[in-house]
Amino acid sequence: MTAMNAMNASNESSAERERGTRPVVLDVRDLSVSYGKVEALHHIDLKIRRGEIVTVIGPNGAGKTTLLAALMGLLPAQGEIVYLGERQGAERQVEQLVRQGMTLVPEKRELFGEMSVEDNLLLGAFDRYRGGHRDELETMDQVFEIFPRLAERREQLAGTLSGGERQMLAMGRALMAKPKLLMLDEPSLGLAPLIIKEIFRIVAELKKTGVAILLVEQNARAALQVADYGYVLETGEVSLEGPSAELASDPRVIESYLGLGGKGGAAAR
C-alpha cells in the first residue's frame, strides 16, 4: 500500500510539472458517492486543465459512469467540486451546469430518436438560445465540418442512424452548447474498430479548440493514446494515475482489467 502511494505521489508531481500552468477547469477533491448504504466512489481526487484530455479508465463496474453522473449533477455527491474556479454548492442542478458550459455525452447516447439529425443538433444549442445567443446555425456548420457524415444525414431521423453515427451525433449535439468541459462516457462502446479509430481521431482534434475533455473509457489503449493524463479507477477508487504514456506501459493496468494479478488486485482493494 505505502509503496503504491509513494508511486502515485511521484507520478503526480512529475505530471504537474508537465501539465504546466494552464488554467484548471475542473478540480475534484475527496469526492464520494453512495447508493443507499454502499459507497460506489471513495475519495476521488481529479483535475482537468484547459485544452487537455484526461482519461479515466478501468474495468466494467468500477464506478466510471457514476463519477460522470456525480460531476454532471445527476447524482448527489460528497466532497469538493471546483468548476471554473467556483466551488459548487450542494444543490447543483444539471441545467445550471449546462449553462456554465459543462456537457456530458452519456454512455447510452440519449438521442431524440424520432427527430432529425438537424433537430437533435439544434436542441444541443437550446440553453444558449434561451440565454439569447442566436448563432446556432453557424455552430451547426462547424459541427458539420467536424462530422461530415452528419451533414450527409441531416434530414434523417436519429433513430435510424448506425451506431457510429449515433455517437457522432451525440458528440455533435454536445458541441452545439460550445462547452468548456466535454465529458465523454465510453464513446467506443459497441463500435467497430475502424469507427472507434475515427471517433478518437476527432477527440484528439477537439482538444485543439481549447475545450477540456474528460474521457471515460473501458478501451484503455485507445484512451491512453489520445489522453494527456490518466486515472485508473478500480472498485470505486483511483488505484493508479499518471501521464498516459507511463500508464500505457504499466503492467498493473493489465492486471486490473483481467484479474491476472490475483492477489495483487485483491490487495489493492
Partner: protein, 586 residues
C-alpha cells in the same frame, strides 16, 4: 402487546357504542363502516397492488341496485340477491380487468372513470330502475328471524362484516398469494421470474376490491331501504379513493381511519363552509382536494403510519416453526447438459444484440459469461430466462425447447435467477422476500388464504425460506426489512430467493458487484458448495478475480458474438480477449 390491547379496546368500544351514543352518531358510524368496506378494497388494490380505480362507487351501486330491484320487483330473498350482486360484480370486474390490466397501469383508472360514469347515467335513465327517483320499499334484512329495522341493529351487522373482511384481507396478505400480490408493486419482472402469474394476481385484487364494494352497496340498500343514483356517482368514487389515501393506503386499518376522518370532516365542513362562504354548495371538496395534495406531497403513506409511530411495536419475533420439508425436484445427473443455447440471435429493430450465440451449461459446473460493456450479456440472459425472448435460434433446458415460453413457465421448469439491479421488496422482511421464491412450490389460492386453511403449506414454505436464508449465511437478518440491508447482502438475499424455488439451474447477474472482499469470499464458498451439490450455475460478472477463481468454464462475448470459450486460464491468455478488454486502435 400495546397494539393488541388497543385493538381489543377498539372492538369493545364498537360493541358498547350504539348503547350509549345518540342516534346521529350511530348513523355516522354506520356510514363510516360502509365506506370503510369500500376503502378496504382500495387498500388492497392501490396500496398493496399499485393499481387504482375511481369506479368503486359504481360497484357499490351494482350491489345496491341488484338487491333493490330483485327484492322489490321479484320478491327474492335479500340473501340470494347478495349472491346475485356478487356474481354480477365479479363478472363486470373480470371483464374490465381483463381488457385494461394487460396494458400500462393508467388504463385501469381511466377505464373505471368511464365505466363509473356510464353506470351512473344508466341507473338514472333506465325506467325499471326508477330513473332519477330510484327504487323505494327495499325490505329490511332479517337475520335468524330477527328483523334489522333500526340503524342501531344494523350497526352490528355492518361492523361485524367490516371486521370479518379486515381479518380476511390481513390473512390474504400474509400468505403465499399475498406475497405475490405485494410483489406487484416492485414491478412485474421479478414476480414473473419467480413464477407468479401477475395478470392473474392483478385481476384477483381488482375483483376482490369490486366485491367488497358490492357488499357495501348491498348493506347500504337494506339500511337505507331505498336507492337512487346519486351516491354511486363518480364523485363518490373519488371520495372513496381519498379515504384510502388519507387513512393510509397500504394499511388495512388505514381504510377505517380514512373513512372515519373523511366522513366526520365532511359532516363538519358541510355545516361550516356554507356559513363561511355565505352560499350553499359542496365546498368541502376544496378542503378534501387540498388535503389530498398535501398528504401526497408530505406523507404519501397516509396517516396510519403516523398513528403507528405513537405505538411502537414490541419485537415479538415470529419463530419459523419446524415443518415437513417441501418435496424436492429430481436433479439432473452431474455432468449432463442442463442448458443449451444454439444459434441464438436477438435483434432490436436493426440492431443485432446477440448474433448466433452458442453456449451450454452442465449440472455441477459454474459457467461464467464475461465481456466488455454492451457486449450483449444481459440480452443473452433475458433471452434464456424468457424476459425478452430471442428472435431466432434454440434454447433448450433439460432437453425441452423453452425459447417461446413465458418467464413464469420457464421458472416452473427449474430455472431461477437474480437481477443485476436488486429487485427485493424493501419493506418486506428477508424471510418474506425469500418465500416469494418458493411461490411455485405451493398450490393454495387466495380463498384458502383468506380462510386460513393453508397454514400447513404456509409453514412449509416459510420453513423452506428460512433454510435457504441459513444456507446463505443470513440467519441473523431473517426478520429485518430487506431494504435495510447493505447492497451486498441484498444480493445474497436474491440468491436465497432463487434457491427457494429449488432450481437446477441458477442464473446470477453480477452477484459480486458491491460486495466487500470477505463477502466475496463467502459468496464464492456458497457457489462452490452449490456446485458440489450438483447445481448448474451461469453467471455474468465483471469482477475478474472473482470469476477466474470460481468458474469452471468461461465464455467471452464481444459485439453480441462469442469471442472465446474455455478454461479460465486459457481465456486470460487469449490475445483476442486481451484485445477486447484493453482495446487498441491499430
Amino acid at each position: 402487546m400495546i397494539r393488541m390491547k388497543f385493538l381489543l379496546a377498539f372492538i369493545a368500544a364498537l360493541a358498547v357504542g350504539p348503547l350509549l351514543l345518540p342516534e346521529f352518531y350511530v348513523t355516522l358510524l354506520n356510514y363510516i363502516g360502509l365506506y370503510a368496506i369500500v376503502a378496504l378494497g382500495l387498500v388492497l388494490l392501490t396500496g398493496v397492488g399499485g393499481l387504482t380505480s375511481f369506479g368503486q362507487a359504481a360497484f357499490v351501486g351494482l350491489g345496491a341496485y341488484t338487491t333493490a330491484y330483485l327484492t322489490t320487483v321479484h320478491g327474492v330473498s335479500p340473501w340470494l340477491t347478495l349472491l346475485a350482486g356478487l356474481a354480477i360484480t365479479a363478472a363486470v370486474a373480470l371483464f374490465l380487468g381483463s381488457i385494461t390490466l394487460r396494458m400500462g397501469g393508467h388504463y385501469l383508472p381511466l377505464g373505471t372513470i368511464a365505466w363509473g360514469i356510464s353506470l351512473y347515467f344508466l341507473f338514472g335513465n333506465v325506467d325499471f330502475l326508477g330513473g332519477h327517483t330510484g327504487i323505494t320499499g327495499v325490505p329490511a334484512l332479517s337475520l335468524f328471524g330477527f328483523e334489522l329495522k333500526s340503524g342501531r341493529e344494523f350497526y352490528y351487522l355492518i361492523w361485524a362484516v367490516l371486521l370479518v373482511i379486515v381479518l380476511a384481507t390481513r390473512n390474504l396478505l400474509d400468505s403465499r398469494e399475498g406475497r405475490a400480490i405485494r410483489a406487484l408493486k416492485g414491478g412485474t419482472l421479478m414476480a414473473e421470474a419467480m413464477g407468479v402469474n401477475t395478470p392473474r394476481s392483478k385481476i384477483v385484487i381488482f375483483t376482490v376490491a369490486a366485491l367488497y364494494a358490492c357488499l357495501s352497496g348491498w348493506l347500504y340498500a337494506h339500511l337505507q331501504r331505498f336507492v337512487n343514483p346519486t351516491p354511486f356517482a363518480i364523485a363518490q368514487g373519488i371520495e372513496y379513493l381519498f379515504m384510502a389515501v388519507i387513512g393510509g393506503v397500504a394499511h388495512v386499518w388505514g381504510a377505517i381511519l380514512g373513512a372515519g376522518l373523511i366522513t366526520i370532516l365532511k359532516q363538519w365542513l358541510q355545516d361550516w363552509l356554507p356559513r363561511v362562504f355565505g352560499q350553499s354548495g359542496n365546498f368541502e371538496v376544496i378542503v378534501f382536494g387540498l388535503l389530498m395534495i398535501f398528504v401526497l406531497h408530505r406523507a404519501r403513506e397516509g396517516l396510519w403510519p403516523i398513528v403507528l409511530r405513537l405505538f411502537p411495536a414490541q419485537n415479538a419475533r415470529p419463530r419459523v416453526a419446524d415443518a415437513e420439508p417441501l418435496p424436492r425436484r429430481s436433479l439432473p445427473e452431474r455432468g449432463s447438459v442442463v442448458l443449451e443455447v444454439r444459434d441464438a440471435t436477438k435483434r432490436f429493430g436493426g440492431l443485432v444484440a446477440n448474433n448466433a450465440m452458442n453456449l451450454s451449461v452442465r449440472a455441477g459446473e459454474v459457467m461464467a459469461l464475461i465481456g466488455p460493456n454492451g457486449a450483449g450479456k444481459s440480452t443473452m440472459f433475458n433471452g434464456i430466462s424468457g424476459v425478452d425472448p430471442v428472435t431466432s435460434g434454440a434454447v433448450s433446458f433439460r432437453g425441452e425447447r423453452i425459447e417461446t415460453l413465458a418467464a413464469r413457465d420457464i421458472a416452473r421448469r427449474g430455472m431461477s435467477r437474480t437481477f443485476q439491479h436488486v429487485r427485493l421488496l424493501p419493506t418486506m422482511s428477508v424471510l418474506e422476500n425469500v418465500a416469494i421464491g418458493a411461490h411455485l412450490r405451493g398450490q393454495r389460492n387466495f380463498v384458502h388464504a383468506a380462510l386460513r386453511t393453508e397454514r400447513v403449506e404456509e409453514a412449509r414454505l416459510l420453513h423452506e425460506a428460512a433454510l435457504q436464508i441459513e444456507r446463505c449465511g443470513l440467519a441473523e437478518h431473517m426478520y429485518d426489512a430487506a431494504g435495510n440491508l447493505p447492497l451486498g447482502k441484498q444480493r445474497i438475499v436474491e440468491i436465497a430467493r432463487a434457491l427457494a424455488a429449488d432450481p437446477c439451474l441458477l442464473l446470477l447477474d453480477e452477484p459480486a458487484a458491491g460486495l466487500r472482499y470477505l463477502e466475496k469470499q463467502a459468496l464464492g464458498d456458497l457457489l462452490r458448495r452449490l456446485r458440489d451439490d450438483g447445481m448448474a450455475i451461469l453467471l455474468v460478472e465483471h469482477d475478474m478475480d472473482f470469476v477466474m477463481g470460481l468458474a469452471d468454464r468461461v465464455v467471452v462475448m464481444e459485439f453480441g458474438e462469442k469471442l472465446a470459450e474455455g478454461l479460465p486460464e486459457e481465456v486470460q491468455r487469449n490475445p483476442a480477449v486481451l484485445e477486447a478488454y484493453l482495446g487498441g486502435v491499430e
